[in-house]
């Protein structure tokens, strides 16, 4: 892990939404690194800030949101400070995003071919024929049969799974260094989910790019990711190698997530859930955000916000009383 090259450095990123009702701190002072060839998972409940983190990587944040402060260092530049034109040289070419819902990510009035060709048109100098060849190649890479025919199809003629493959192909078109996948399988059937995940993993290895995998499903993370950031209410509460986090001492929230995975915990009769509800983002607690739902909280948790502290060189968490339970399962 240490010898791998660092390709992305996020420092103290804050993305806030300035709404009429108040400020929503969707991403509140997070920092993490991304290494070449790895799969970094970002996990947490809906609204926890994971998707916004993903979009912030290429500053695809729209009014009333914006990146307040922090740095996103990529290839010697700070993405957070670039203007639209500069951002457009990175988007879709060096860093691309796979959206969640394949039924709505594709433009209904243009053919697959046209939409697949677009990143090539924008970011490469290939000729028309070369682009056509590349499109065929891309569709083959993502496992779509009969690519010549598919290029002429419209999105409505394809199934959900196929559309998601096309979306992935589009994301891969200009050989990006980083792919951000925002809940790439949530909107798909269970059987297709496994296929798509397998596809993603294969592509990442083949092309040696990095993948930021955003999901609320820790089971997916367990399958796919090397490292994981656990986010809650806009903050990273734990980060580290996946195996270590699932098996050993961790943040109560992470513990709760792990225990909620059916089958992880020995007691198969009960389905564990995390008690309580996600707090109102306009009125976050003074101290630890998770405190109201935490079984282990004490006085200090209400007063002070815990900061990330190292357990070992790769693993940190933000908690005054991390649980010492050890999970016996693998």
């Amino acid at each position: 892990m240490m010898d791998k090259k660092k390709i992305l450095e996020v420092k103290n990123l804050r993305t806030y939404f300035h709404t009429f009702k108040g400020i929503v701190k969707a991403v509140d002072d997070i920092s993490f690194d991304l290494y070449e060839g790895e799969i970094l998972g970002i996990v947490g409940e809906s609204g926890g800030g994971k998707s916004i983190t993903g979009f912030s990587m290429i500053n695809l944040i729209e009014e009333p949101g914006r990146i307040e402060s922090g740095e996103i260092l990529f290839e010697g530049r700070d993405i957070a400070k670039l203007n639209q034109r500069q951002l457009n040289t990175i988007r879709g070419s060096k860093i691309s995003i796979v959206f969640q819902d394949p039924m709505t990510s594709l433009n209904p009035v243009y053919t697959i071919g046209r939409q697949l060709e677009e990143p090539l048109l924008l970011h490469t100098k290939l000729t028309k024929n070369e682009r056509y060849e590349k499109c065929i190649e891309l569709l083959n890479d993502v496992g779509i049969s009969n690519p010549e025919k598919r290029l002429k199809n419209y999105p409505y003629e394809l199934s959900g799974g196929m559309r998601q493959r096309v979306v992935i192909a589009i994301a891969l078109a200009s050989n990006p260094r980083i792919i951000i996948a925002d809940e790439p399988t949530t909107a798909l059937d269970v059987t297709i989910q496994a296929q798509i995940l397998k596809l993603l993993k294969k592509l990442v290895t083949e092309k040696n790019c990095a993948l930021i995998l955003i999901t609320h499903d820790l089971a997916v993370i367990a399958e796919m990711a090397d490292r994981v950031n656990v986010m809650y209410c806009g903050k990273i509460v734990e980060t580290g190698p996946v195996k270590e986090i699932i098996n050993s001492c961790s943040h109560p929230y992470t513990r709760g997530l792990v225990n909620s995975i059916p089958g992880i915990v020995e007691d198969k009769a009960k389905l564990h859930t995390i008690e309580g509800m996600v707090p109102n983002m306009f009125q976050l607690p003074k101290g630890c955000n998770f405190q109201p739902r935490c079984a282990y909280s004490q006085e200090i948790c209400i007063e002070q916000e815990p900061k990330l502290s190292e357990v070992n060189s790769m693993h940190s968490l933000a908690c005054f009383f991390p649980c010492k339970e050890v999970n016996n399962n693998e």
Binding site: G92, I97, T104, P108, V109, Y110, E118, Y154, V167
Partner: protein, 321 residues
Amino acid sequence: MFKFILKRLTQMVVVLLIVSFIVFFMTSIIGNPVYNMVPETATQEQVDHVIRQLGLDKPLPVQYLIFLKNALNGEFGRSYKYNRPALGLILERFPATMEIVFVAMTLTIVLGISLGVYAGSRPKSKVTKLIMGGSLLGISLPSFWIGMVFIYLFGVTLGWLPVSGRGPTTTIFGINTSLGSLKGWTHVILPSVTLALGNIASIIRLVRAGMMEVMKQDYIKFAKSKGAPNNKILYGHALKNTLIPVVTIFGLQLGGLIAFTTITETIFAWPGMGKLLIDSISSLDRPIVSAYLLFAAALFVVINFVVDILYAIIDPRIDLN
């Protein structure tokens, strides 16, 4: 596709038949045209003779069939006033009308779509507020009033532009048109703008609403994540999705433009079909009125048909069968 065209063609014919029947029915129950055709001093014999000549003594259904047969041959009778074939008169004036309609249409498309796209993509800017205010005005102003204001401002007060009549014509591509000369354009501009104003306003509002809807969609965000520049997003990705309702409205508007030439031509003394119609209504020149109505009906039916085809071309999801 072929089945679709066939089906629509049959519909067109049915509609035209119905319209022809209504036109015939209405015009025949109102008054007796005979008295327009004979001098006041005519004897009963002469009157009867004319009645027989015009076929007015035959039963109504037969008259209708004769009317239909003649209509299909382009025969609508002779104008009482000009004593020339009605349809011929209309066709003579047709190019003049289509001139201002054409210019008005172009203005509508260019200004309507571009301003609408701008207003839709930047809903909060000051310019947008101006555009929207202007468009509200545009749909509330009666076109005859706008015409009068223009005439007074540009004609009487400022004297910049001529306010009546058509400019000198030349022949371009075999069509007699006044758009070939600068002087011709000075005559065309006021009537065309008057015609177009209301339509431009409607299109702006429609395009803006559509764009605002479309810009919220996921596929727009996905396109942005590909690194597409703003113009490409607006005009490439968003606009085509907005165009579907716009095309329908535009078709209707085209029909409206042709209808509104009646007013505009009257105000600006433009020698087109519209003015002819109004004059004919005032002078009770029935053949021209019937001929105009059927001609206009045919035009509208064809326009609607073309709009439907365009619809299907733009939106690939539409199943023509």
